[in-house]
Symmetry: C2
Subunit: 476 residues, 2 copies
């Protein structure tokens, strides 16, 4: 009864929900760029006030070093499980700006899509859960389960302070399971639940050569150019079979079962679909695996940016004193980012030519994670997806990294259920990021259904549910 | 008599000459960056007016497509030779700005050096000749030789329109020899004359991969990252012996004589001196040649800049749709930049992986040049250096490129004498560019002496004096 009222309210309020989401996206919450610090604080305050208006009276902003987080809780169902709803209101830098059809922080609806930085990642997806809470609280005055909300502002820069605040306020965050929506589903009518995420290790590799910038006419041909040395070093980090050429790198990579590989081949995107989506000229990477496997079951090393020399219009005859690359690893169970960090540094030392010097700075690290499909919250999520989207969900591995999944496991001892409302063409992290609005509305309903289905399960044990042997035996 | 008055005037006026040079440097004449176009025009007008004040009444600004040039002439000595004094008032981009101790366009004297962008390259050096003209004209009312002044504003971007304006106004520019001062000498008491310059070919290499930027979590490991492909391509452009790995590239490179190599070893900087100056950890480049030879007798290929992916603070999980490199070749006789351009494009096509696409854009080209040491103007320059600096000049090859040397030869049929007032530590093209002020004052006197010594020679023939076989037989 209360469920149908909440669902009806959800449909009626759609125009207002969309208007509020646009307000949310207008805040330029780029966590990586210090100039947006004030906008981060304003956005956090706005979000806390929205939660309070929805009925979560204690919602508040908590300072957390770099960027504040927004916290709220509702614990009035003593015999029901507690779910921690996680999301992040910070976004990726919007550059390159000239490629946006409409400005990144002026959300615009075109067709059935809402365009803007953060429309999908993660403002739009987390806001679906925020509005699901409102639908229940405004129509019924209560929730079917206990809820803790945690919306952070530093996900895109590695959630560095999150673990310590979880540790410090462990009882405030206590829950049986976490849920987050920050992923892509294969199609609008094909919901999905992610049972694994890749870990990550972000590093900056700087190569230093001469003591100062040199004229390339005067010295070209006699001095090892750091740009040249950087290109040489980077080109040696993969072998001719597309594998990462760092001794020991693959040692802890768990070998996937034939059963899981077969399942993923059946439900995951085909090579053809990935090539069509990316408009790449052909596949690339580790031989012997499908493209989807290369982005989920297997680790990867990507150059995210190069900096060095003259980048303005025209040319400049310069040999710069230094050049650097931003790199990120994606790691799979049972790789450990700290061990990979050591292996990487040792290899860089080995392959750096004696004519230059290399400096490695590690900027973020998160372990990979995999969750048991037998967990009651996974079952509840499956019901919610079926009801919210009108079709059976598939179970997938994600290629991305969600550092909080690691933190929730390590600090709170709880597994995380990941279900998303983004699409393959949502342009996450890229210009013209967009949210398919039917997914947003289905997402709100999925949120409502998730709490309802979770309430029907018994109170969960606090026992960690992340199973390292999952992939061997629980593929559905 | 008139000579000694000019030299005395030169000493007395030093404080004003320095003040005027500072005014000249204050114009931010960065020809590569369109936003400075107005400053370019203002600077050209200032320079023309300075020449008129000095006594060159017809000095004027001539529009020349991109940036105007400044022209003046004095032709009242019918039986004397005519010298074309060339210089450029445009400068290299000052970036990276944060490395400047004092701002690039706020010229500042520290010790005996004047700091500022263009202090050496080329404002300070060309201004020495401008002031030498003034010393003669103000004390004597006439010059010992005929003079044409040509000060352009597009040298740092390849002097693209210069050839056509020379062609169009060939009679206005008619001269027996050109002189330019835009080079480094080994030490303040060791003047030098350059008898060869390297040619150049500047290209931009763009690598395109996916149709749009991708999330490196979602696609890392399955799509060929243009940054990765660019690093791979760049690392293949040199072989393990430091040679440029482009088939046919060395075919036209003239083999230097043992005699010339011995002479250059004796007068040119040693490997040790070059390493000390650049603060590089060791030499690099083509095996079998000294570092000085690698920068003068031998061609080079330098990466001047890399652009691609995220370059802001922090990280960004992105696979960019494209990445590019700015590259420049330095060429030696008898290489032809247009042939090298074809060879480079063919090689890029061969080594570009099928997973990406390469696009090559050529942005500037100039042929290498070498001049006969027997030319009377070279002899006059040697006298002038000895008198101006108080010691014998050495004859060197320059590693840099001066496209006008090619244009003067091709269009006006005249050779160019190159003598400079910059030093090895002048930081040309780099932050904290500086001019050693004693060199500036000696440079003015050298300019005065050059005109005097040239007047003593007979009127030169217009016959081209650049000898392709020079290096075989005229090393002093």
């Amino acid at each position: 009864m209360s469920l149908s009222r909440a669902l009806r309210y959800s449909v009626i309020q759609r125009p207002r929900f969309l208007a509020e989401l646009k307000d949310f996206i207008r805040f330029p919450t780029v966590s990586a760029q210090p100039k947006f610090a004030v906008d981060m604080r304003r956005c956090a305050a706005w979000l806390a006030s929205d939660l309070r208006r929805s009925g979560l009276k204690g919602a508040r902003v908590i300072a957390n070093g770099e960027h504040p987080l927004v916290y709220a809780s509702w614990r009035h169902a003593p015999r029901r499980p507690t779910v921690l709803i996680y999301g992040h209101y910070d976004v990726q830098p919007p550059e390159p700006l000239h490629e946006w059809i409409t400005p990144p922080f002026e959300p615009t609806v075109r067709g059935r899509d809402l365009y803007g930085r953060g429309a999908c990642d993660d403002k739009g997806q987390m806001f679906a859960h925020v509005k699901a809470l409102e639908c229940y609280l405004r129509t019924r005055g209560r929730l079917p389960v206990n809820v803790v909300c945690l919306f952070e502002g530093a996900e895109e820069i590695g959630s560095k302070n999150l673990s310590s605040i979880l540790q410090k306020h462990r009882s405030s965050f206590a829950a049986d399971v976490a849920i987050l929506s920050d992923m892509r589903i294969p199609a609008p009518n094909r919901p999905a639940i992610d049972y694994a995420v890749r870990g990550s290790l972000a590093v900056e590799l700087e190569v230093r050569g001469p003591g100062h910038d040199l004229h390339s006419g005067e010295f070209g041909g006699a001095v090892h150019n750091p740009l040249q040395a950087l290109a040489e070093i980077l080109s040696k980090l993969h072998d001719e079979r597309g594998r990462i050429a760092i001794p020991g790198f693959y040692r802890r990579v768990r070998v996937a079962t034939t059963r899981e590989r077969d399942y993923l081949k059946r439900v995951g995107p085909t090579d053809k679909a990935i090539l069509e989506e990316t408009k790449a000229r052909g596949g690339w990477g580790e031989h012997g695996y499908t493209l989807f496997e290369r982005t989920t079951l297997r680790p990867a090393l990507t150059i995210n940016g190069l900096v060095g020399g003259y980048q303005g219009p025209g040319g400049k005859g310069v040999i710069p004193a230094a050049a650097s690359a931003k790199l990120s690893f994606r790691l799979v169970p049972d790789q450990d980012p700290h061990e990979v960090d050591r292996l990487f540094r040792a290899q860089i030392e080995r392959i750096t030519p004696p004519t230059v010097r290399s400096i490695v700075r590690s900027t973020a690290a998160a372990r990979p994670a995999v969750v048991s499909l037998k967990h009651p919250a996974i079952r509840a999520a499956a019901v919610a997806c079926r009801k919210g989207f009108g079709s059976e969900p598939v179970f997938l591995r994600s290629g991305g990294t969600i550092p909080v999944v690691d933190a929730f496991q390590k600090v709170l001892g709880i597994p995380t259920v990941i279900m998303g409302f983004a699409l393959p063409n949502s342009r996450i992290h890229a210009p013209n990021e967009r949210l398919h609005l039917p997914n947003f509305y289905n997402g709100i309903d999925t949120g409502i259904w998730f709490m309802t289905a979770l309430a029907a399960t018994q109170r969960h044990s606090r026992k960690p549910e992340i199973s390292r042997s999952f992939s061997r035996n629980v593929v559905p």
